[in-house]
């Protein structure tokens, strides 16, 4: 049992991911939570790279960090006074929720180690973009098109909800 460099990288990314996720969940300030979420997304992207999923790692950075996180930050800013640095987010019923979450973690951890997952040939880390592109235009053509309808509807819907009601 020896410790390799990639194990060290895994531990570093895992620590960043879980550590910042703890901050996201527990931080009193919304701004802290939002910025900690940035590190969680980066950490997960790093883990994707270690797993050889280069395309997903890039999508994670572009969509989660560039899209969803920015959206959430807008949400924080627009629902509070801009210069109010003291953006408190209160916590309720912490003890019972923490017990539930901890119990769930134990169950999932036991499950992860004890279940005999299907360990097949595996997939050596290699560039996936080419193959994913072919899958999108082949086997996954229908979900790909359906996702475009979903994005169209989400676009119309979000614009419709936010637009102010016309004065009758």
């Amino acid at each position: 049992m020896h410790f390799t460099a990639s194990d060290g990288v895994f531990l570093a990314f895992a620590a960043i991911t879980v550590g910042s996720a703890v901050v996201v969940t527990l931080a009193r300030s919304l701004i802290y939570s939002a910025f900690a979420l940035l590190f969680t997304f980066f950490g997960v992207a790093g883990l994707y790279l270690l797993l050889g999923a280069d395309f997903i790692a890039a999508s994670q950075l572009l969509i989660y960090v560039g899209g969803i996180l920015v959206l959430l930050l807008f949400g924080v800013m627009l629902t509070h006074k801009l210069y109010d640095l003291d953006l408190k987010s209160e916590v309720t019923q912490f003890a019972p929720a923490a017990i539930v979450a901890a119990g769930l973690f134990v169950v999932l951890a036991v499950l992860g180690f004890r279940t005999t997952w299907k360990i097949g040939p595996g997939r050596a880390p290699s560039a996936t973009t080419d193959e994913i592109g072919h899958l999108f235009m082949g086997q996954y053509l229908l979900p790909f098109e359906a996702a475009s309808v979903l994005l169209l509807v989400a676009l119309i819907g979000a614009a419709m909800i936010v637009r102010r009601k016309k004065e009758a």
Binding site: V44, T79, G120
Partner: protein, 101 residues
């Protein structure tokens, strides 16, 4: 040696932290952050199984769709939160309480 179970452990931690955030937060934007943690944990599982498991790309394709859906969902959810703020001047869920019984 790092293997599949270690990735599963990280994802289980993310999932449970997400659940904890959803259960305890009063601020709607914060609840959304918890939901993003849950979706990230599922994606980490999918990619890890794709790497160590049968070696097909089905897990990775699934993960891409999860990311797309997360974006659409976040857009709609934030639009609703913004309207809540405009109507009540609060993003807190316990002030959304006219519907009861």
């Amino acid at each position: 040696m790092i293997g599949l179970p270690h990735y599963l452990l990280v994802s289980a931690a993310l999932f449970c932290l997400g659940v904890l955030g959803v259960l305890t937060r009063r601020n709607a934007v914060n609840v959304l952050m918890g939901i993003e943690l849950i979706l990230n944990s599922a994606n980490l599982n999918l990619v890890a199984f794709s790497r160590y498991g049968s070696g097909n790309l089905q897990g990775q394709m699934f993960a891409i769709f999860v990311i797309v859906i997360a974006a659409a969902e976040a857009a709609v959810a934030l639009a609703i939160v913004l309207t809540l703020y405009r109507l009540r001047r609060t993003p807190n869920l316990d002030q959304a309480d006219i519907l009861r019984g």
